[in-house]
């Protein structure tokens, strides 16, 4: 009996102690932040610990390819652990005018297809490091949700060959339809 009331007393005091902490936090600054509020549209997460503007310095979100700089070496395709990059190249004619990437490398291959399926990408950024012309980069862009899965297939090549004729019946598999 005595223990029962001692337990009750301990429970009430320890809860009061916890409530005291909660009460003290009532008067501190808000920790939560409004996502895309009317006051600051386009606002991103403001970190309390990281200095402003530095958080996204190395962000690894959506992939982007500067296709003019791509020399078609396919190193990113080889290193990708989930095989989400699909590249097709054609040899350029010797009579064509020489083209150079931004760092001066001669472009000898014509990239006719450079597809990245962002729904497969695992954001490891392993494709970024071996690129000799630094044309494939990860951008801090994270808002690219789509309602259709085939929209995640990003076609970066300018001279993308026409996609194969879709089968008569609607397929539910957009990856197969994208040809990757």
């Amino acid at each position: 009996m005595k223990e029962y009331f001692a337990d009750l007393f301990a429970a009430v005091t320890s809860i009061a102690k916890g409530m005291g902490i909660t009460l003290a936090h009532l008067f501190t600054k808000n920790e939560t932040q409004q996502y895309l509020s009317e006051e600051n549209p386009g606002a991103r997460w403001q970190s309390v610990i990281v200095p402003e503007g530095l958080l996204q310095d190395r962000s690894r979100m959506r992939l982007h390819v500067k296709i003019e700089d791509c020399i078609g070496c396919k190193q990113c395709e080889k290193v990708c652990p989930v095989d989400c990059i699909d590249i097709t190249t054609e040899k350029r004619e010797k009579t064509d005018a020489p083209i150079f990437a931004a760092d001066g490398t001669a472009v000898k291959q014509k990239v006719v297809q450079f597809d990245i399926d962002m729904s497969l990408c695992c954001y490891c950024s392993l494709c970024v490091y071996p690129c000799p012309t630094e044309c494939i980069v990860m951008t801090p862009e994270y808002e690219f949700a789509e309602t259709v899965k085939s929209e995640f297939l990003y076609r970066f090549a300018k001279e993308t060959p026409a996609p194969p004729e879709p089968p008569k019946k609607e397929t539910s598999d957009p990856v197969a339809a994208g040809g990757s």
């Binding site: 916890g18 990281v50 690894r60 490891c124 990860m138």
Partner: protein, 392 residues
């Protein structure tokens, strides 16, 4: 549809460990999970109950199976690291570190001191983040919602530090074979120090909020007791073993990354609110470990050499000689190990993961017998399992 594999349902014999015909008159079979909010993932537990008492409990795993080991046999050594990150997705830094340590052992690479220090800093911060998640959700499982908000607020700061460091918040791909993907940015260590300074009082606050709360201690202190000899018998590691009062820590016993340089204690369960090895002991070992992690991080930041290339020893081509190596580290959940076998090619012959959560799950049946149904939640939470690592 004809070309696709036809999946057939499991026979009742395979899906259930307990047979309805073997039940006593008062007994009942109850499925807990796989979509139960307190199972920390997708874990199904089959309970044989007699009223409120659990007579027997059989965990069924495999709902989050992602074929890690077979994947690893088909990609190059560097490509395995993103998959290791996804095993224990709340302690990714430690997972990739373990794999990197194992392959470095295989290739006989010695990383420089700056890399070692940064690895210690990041893995200790990750341990704090992981324990914060474990403690916060444990409180929520028991019925205390507020500590969860406090712990996630702090965890967010660590994730911000990591995003600043390597660009990702959860799946970092930061520890590479022979080095790191990025060097520390300017001011990073200063900001980490600011975080540690303001984090230490928060641990005391969490203590007062949850650890010593009478309701919480009543719910956890007499539940799920693992005696020391049984903990050793089931090969438990990490906080689950130390909660039973056994001082075993890979960082002390088999130091890696220069842990022998740092001063820290190995907290063990004291049995303050009941028998030793209870859920409360395992919980409190994690709280104490956060304090020790803060201590180690401070020392590592202090002793870190200012100069050094973090990619100095990164091999151009990871092609180990034929052989095998087992690398192990103290992950937040216990001893994590990777056994890597090489046949001299560019692709690993075999990568086997030794997961602490899988081992911890094996003792569940033993300690669940005779407890109440409501205590199942307390036991699962105190073992701190992550299903991504159990199923791999």
């Amino acid at each position: 549809m004809s070309s696709q594999t036809q999946y057939k349902d499991l026979e009742p014999d395979e899906a259930y460990a307990f047979k309805p015909e073997d039940l006593e008159p008062d007994e009942m079979i109850l499925n807990m999970g796989p979509q139960h909010p307190s199972t920390h993932g997708v874990l199904r537990i089959e309970l044989k109950t007699d009223g409120e008492i659990v007579k027997d409990a059989q965990p069924h795993i495999g709902y989050l199976h992602r074929n890690f080991e077979k994947h690893a046999e088909n990609i190059d050594y560097q490509g395995v690291i993103p998959f290791t990150d996804r095993m224990d997705y709340v302690g990714s830094m430690n997972n990739s570190l373990t794999y990197a340590v194992a392959v470095e052992k295989l290739m006989e690479i010695e990383v420089n001191e700056r890399v070692q220090s940064i690895r210690v800093i990041t893995s200790e911060l990750q341990r704090i983040a992981s324990h914060l998640l474990a403690l916060g959700t444990y409180g929520m499982d028991i019925g205390a919602f507020t500590p969860f908000l406090h712990s996630f607020r702090e965890r967010e700061k660590i994730l911000d530090l990591f995003e600043w460091l390597c660009g990702a918040r959860l799946l970092y791909n930061y520890n590479w074979i022979g080095g790191l993907s990025h060097d520390l940015p300017n001011q990073w260590t200063d900001r980490a120090k600011i975080f540690l300074d303001q984090f230490e009082p928060v641990i005391d606050e969490l203590d007062n909020l949850l650890s010593y709360n009478k309701i919480f201690t009543k719910r956890t202190a007499d539940v799920g007791i693992i005696p020391p000899e049984r903990a050793v018998g089931y090969a438990l590691t990490g906080p689950n073993l130390r909660g039973s009062g056994i001082k075993w820590d890979i960082r002390k016993e088999d130091p890696y990354c220069g842990y022998e340089k740092y001063e820290f204690d190995v907290p063990v369960g004291q049995g303050r609110y009941g028998p030793i090895g209870s859920c409360w002991d395992r919980y409190y070992v994690r709280v104490e470990e956060m304090r020790q992690s803060v201590r180690i991080t401070r020392q590592a930041i202090e002793q870190m050499p200012a100069e050094g290339d973090v990619r100095e020893t990164v091999p151009k081509r990871v092609k180990p000689k034929p052989g095998e190596a087992y690398g192990r580290t103290e992950a937040p959940r216990g001893e994590l190990g990777f056994y890597v076998v090489s046949d001299g090619g560019l692709i690993p012959y075999r990568v086997k993961g030794r997961s602490p959560c899988f081992v911890a799950m094996s003792i569940f049946r033993e300690i669940a017998k005779g407890e109440m149904i409501a205590d199942m939640i307390a036991i699962i939470g105190s073992l701190d399992i992550v299903l991504g690592e159990i199923d791999r």
